[in-house]
């Protein structure tokens, strides 16, 4: 199946009309040696055959729906209402390009405008862009914005920021003559005394994630004050679902709030595509990376939407652009927008609360077991760290759990050697009491 409508007959007619002797003559600019190869691809398949292969491959994975999963760590399972899939599957949304022709793209443009509003409302920030690739690159872009803003070359970040985000940050900043300083997190939250000592007038920005990688809620107000005292930007990396209950970046005076919005109506999809969001205070608007949709009027005075402030972008500014991003995560932003509208004002608050209630129920009961022990005592959102007490290592515990139909928490020693035999468990609203109790029962027996 090749999706090519023109037949051999069409081809002949077209070449005839062009008075071209052969198709090959159209390729005369390609040096002959380059034409000399053959592909080892297999023969094409029909739709039923292809889908059989794909179903087999899909079946070769253990879906988090078939098992009970307690994995989180930056990719979170939340229930996605049917409305989201149905609306986002409309091909009017998914088979169009970036809205370069606003007259025939008002659907996409208005939806992005609504997405921007949703993100501003959740974060309490003034403006949002139309999306970046994912949470990690959004954080890196935030650091880059701060570095473009002033002549300072030090970026301070907490060790409790997602380890992969910190690795991405390093990759992005390497070669830009920047120093990245990491602050310890002895009790599962950033050491503010150490932070105070490290922030100086060379500090471009302070980067903190809250809830952080361990699930703990950071003291964002104090950290914000520490950063601002030295003239550094305060960059908050947040989970939008937590903002239904937790204090918003706008309330603790963050300059930039970024994060991963996969949680808003997008599947975990083995890690991607996800949805980086990027929100700022008004004063940084013209330095923001990525696309932005704005409201205006058409020639007849009707309200409408366009891509705006494009003088920041690569297609106009080339090497002077605020970022190299072009294609972004449009369809995922649409899904996020539909998801939040579907849950609504009350639903978003309920959702955050449900995550807190369920995770705390699990935490308290797990802490009562002899086999595991909590590692940090600080308040958390929907994730927490436990240390196995017996002689059985975490990977063996997870193997045991898997046999019982449970996907256990993430083993932490790979990212944090000092946290050996520890696992990070996440409990979202998708876990019933029964499934949590099963985890407790199994862990009590190891």
């Amino acid at each position: 199946m090749d999706y090519i409508p023109n037949t051999e007959h069409d081809r002949k007619m077209m070449l005839g009309e062009m008075k071209v002797p052969s198709f090959e003559s159209l390729l005369k600019d390609i040096p002959a040696p380059l034409r000399n190869f053959s592909l080892s691809l297999r023969q094409g398949l029909s739709e039923p055959e292809v889908l059989r292969v794909l179903r087999d491959l899909s079946g070769g994975n253990i879906s988090t729906d078939a098992y009970i999963s307690f994995l989180g760590a930056g990719a979170y399972e939340h229930y996605i209402p049917s409305v989201v899939d149905h609306l986002a599957s409309r091909s009017e949304f998914y088979t169009c390009y970036t809205p370069y022709q606003p007259e025939v793209s008002q659907g996409t443009l208005q939806a992005i405008y609504e997405f921007q509003t949703v993100m501003c409302e959740l974060t309490g920030m003034d403006v949002s862009n139309a999306s970046l690739y994912d949470g990690s690159t959004a954080l890196a872009e935030a650091a880059l914005l701060s570095l473009r803003l002033h002549e300072k070359n030090k970026i301070i970040c907490s060790r409790a920021i997602h380890p992969e985000y910190r690795q991405v940050l390093k990759t992005y900043l390497k070669g830009l003559h920047t120093e990245i300083v990491e602050i310890d997190t002895p009790e599962g939250i950033t050491d503010t005394d150490q932070l105070k000592k490290m922030v100086d007038d060379k500090t471009s920005a302070v980067l903190i994630q809250s809830p952080n990688f361990f699930g703990c809620i950071e003291d964002m107000e104090i950290i914000s004050t520490i950063a601002h005292k030295q003239g550094a930007l305060f960059i908050a990396c947040v989970n939008p679902i937590s903002l239904g209950v937790l204090k918003s970046p706008g309330e603790y005076d963050a300059d930039i709030a970024v994060g991963e919005a996969q949680v808003l109506g997008n599947y975990i999809n083995y890690g991607g595509p996800y949805l980086g969001f990027f929100t700022v205070k008004k004063e940084f608007l013209r330095r923001m990376p990525g696309r932005i949709v704005g409201q205006t009027v058409d020639s007849e005075g009707r309200r409408c939407f366009v891509l705006t402030l494009q003088a920041r972008e690569q297609h106009i500014r080339r090497q002077k652009a605020t970022s190299n991003i072009c294609t972004n995560q449009g369809l995922l932003a649409l899904r996020a927008c539909i998801y939040v509208c579907t849950l609504g004002k009350a639903g978003m608050a309920e959702l955050a609360n449900l995550n807190i209630q369920k995770s705390h129920y699990a935490y308290e009961r797990l802490c009562a077991l002899n086999t595991v022990k909590p590692v940090f005592k600080n308040p958390f959102f929907h994730e927490f760290v436990l240390k196995a007490q017996g002689t059985i290592p975490v990977n063996k515990i997870n193997e045991y759990l898997l046999k019982k139909g449970i996907i256990g928490g993430l083993e932490l020693s790979g990212f944090y050697p000092e946290l050996d035999n520890c696992m990070l468990l996440c409990v979202t609203e998708t876990k019933t009491r029964e499934s949590i109790d099963r985890l407790i029962l199994e862990l009590s027996q190891i």
Partner: protein
Amino acid sequence: MNQIEPLIFDKTSPGRRCFVFPACDVPVKPITELLARDMLRKKEIKLPEVSEIDVVRHFTRLSQMNYCVDTNFYPLGSCTMKYNPKTNEEAARLEGFTKLHPYQSVEQCQGILKLLYDLEQMLKDISGMSAFTLQPAAGAHGELTGMLIIRAYLEKKGEKRRKIIIPDSAHGTNPASAVLCGYEIESIRSHANGLVDIKKLKEIFTRDTAAIMITNPNTLGLFEKDILEIGKIAHTMGGLVYCDGANMNALLGIARPGDMGVDILHLNLHKTFSTPHGGGGPGAGPIGVTDELASFLPVPGIKAVDKLITESIGNDVQKEYILHYDYPDSIGKIRAFYGHIGMMIRAYTYLLSLGKEGVCKVGKYAVLNANYLRHKLEKQYDIPYGKTCMHEFVISATRQKKKGISALDIAKKLLDYGFHAPTIYFPLIVEEAIMIEPTETESRETLDAFAAVMIQIASDIEQQPDRVRNSPKTTPISRPDEVKAAREPILRWDKK
């Protein structure tokens, strides 16, 4: 349907609900018992309070204001708006993929890892590159990854080179990606024939040049026929060749960048490999590299290893797919997790469907369609570069501009005829540029219909230019005031 759809926020009616969660089945505690009071949000969140039918109608109506590939022809140059097969969508939505967590152990993910591994092998085959990473999120992200690899490679050799050469016809992401890595851009003017000026290139490619970033076929739709020479110039100076493969559709089954002296290549799965554009994304921009550069790829990579299975009837060796971190010179991580898996599933499905013969037909029919359309329009419009083209061509509306009608006017008039507009004002080296890429998934009849409209527009411009002004008139809105949008930015809804 040409009515303004109110914002969903303006449809709010207090207390209205759409989705409800199951009742909390664990004992509920007051939130202040679990979290400190000063951690809690005080600011109200003004989100819509609407019913399910409100949400469904709102977004359905919005969708109806969009033009898309499924509506009609989308000749947007450089964007390869080919048909997005429905089989791909069905495959990508299978639960074994969508509900898989990136931190599940590899034994739980053998299906997807095999798919990714096989996709890498297919892309290697098609492109002629030796090793791939599927991780970059889009073309521009692939460029950035490529630039990081170039820098790391040269640094390992103890060289600190400062410059990247980029033709003036290149896409804006090219220079933007190179500066992100701290490089200076040296722009090279295209030769009068629209190709890289080889003489000039020889002069400016020095030991301070890290690489040339080239697009082949270039954005004029022309094959860089001196590509082998370009490679030689770069390599003689110890530099590298980066190829922007956004235009790979032209070459499928026809030629392979890996045979052209290209060291690093990015592909756009959302162009060449039929994954949908989603109204702006997500895409995917895998990059392929030569053997010499493989050790610099971002982590993790995917490997197939032999696994001994002991069974009662005897031993058996099976392939096991694993994520590995042993790229000794790796540039590190370029994003969290492993990339846009959903896009990779679609591209893989597409390649399985096409197979070898299908892939070879893509390039041929893409080139045939473009040349056919070019031929149909070359009398009425100026086509400043080339006599034939690859997968796309660029018209210059200078003749029409003299009559007071710009490329923009022509683009907007096309909307009234029910066609999407081509890319306009790009590449920057063509005045009043109109860049047309038909792709192979369009029929002769569609091309004829589009050509007839373009010819009609050209003839109207000659005889009654007023007919072409002030379009579009039949679309949900007329031309927006973009200046106002930028001068007085309104970027979000606010309660009145």
